[in-house]
């Protein structure tokens, strides 16, 4: 079984774009979706990915972030939620699975997402959601984390 590739999520506040150093958080690509993506960060409530009603449409490229909560009853399987977020136009989806123990296992089962779907948790997720709570526009770049080659040699 292929090891899941790790993601580097670089977040820059738009007002600091020229000078600011991005926040870099690590995550895990799931569903064979490893790849690059870029867009504005947009938070979605876990209940927003439940039906395909004519709700809000975003302009321009955006990346969806959803903090999953075990207390929110599942209206859909997570795989469908991820696909729905991508169908709504997201360039990528980030799931904070810190407070939903089963979510990571469920999403690791996925095998075919059309665009990057990344899991974050613990301190990385805390940093990201802390930034979301500031509600300041931010740009996100997601890339594959390249592991140093020497790791694979027996020394």
């Amino acid at each position: 079984e292929h090891p899941l590739l790790r993601a580097l999520i670089k977040v820059t506040l738009l007002k600091h774009e020229a000078t600011g150093k991005p926040i870099v958080v690590e995550g895990l690509f799931v569903g064979g979706s490893a790849g690059k993506a870029e867009g504005r960060l947009m938070q979605y409530h876990p209940l927003s990915l439940c039906n395909t009603s004519e709700d809000e449409r975003q302009d321009g490229d955006f990346i969806t972030i959803v903090k999953l909560e075990h207390r929110v009853p599942r209206c859909l399987p997570l795989l469908d939620k991820a696909r729905m977020a991508l169908d709504k136009g997201a360039q990528a989806v980030i799931f904070d699975v810190s407070d939903d123990a089963n979510a990571a296992a469920e999403l690791r089962e996925a095998n075919s997402f059309s665009r990057p779907v990344v899991l974050v948790e613990a301190q990385g997720a805390e940093d990201l959601m802390g930034l979301v709570n500031k509600n300041e526009e931010a740009n996100v770049v997601i890339e594959i984390k390249v592991e140093p080659k020497w790791l694979h040699y027996d020394v």
Partner: protein, 115 residues
Amino acid sequence: KSISGVSSGCQQGGCLTCSDYNGCLSCKPRFFMHLKRIGMKQIGVCMTSCPPGFYGTRSPERNTCTKCRSECDSCFDKNFCTRCRAGFYLHLGKCQESCPDSMVHNDTQRECVLS
């Protein structure tokens, strides 16, 4: 800025369960869950009635506010508009860009009226 019937933040009257990042996760009975977009954030808000541009749907699991059709500014439900967006005219609960032959459009009311 709070909307009538609700105050923002986690301590809202209608909230049953709540989280710092997502706002309300579930509402008390009879309240509607409205997913309110504030900039890049989207939080759950529990309301006694849905805001303009949305209609309330009740179900055993949860009462929710759902957006009216895009050409409709306020509606009773998905298929019955009560006020159209500019450039559309109300006829039999639907918003149309033009009125039937025997009618003319009233720009103030945004409705089709008998000529």
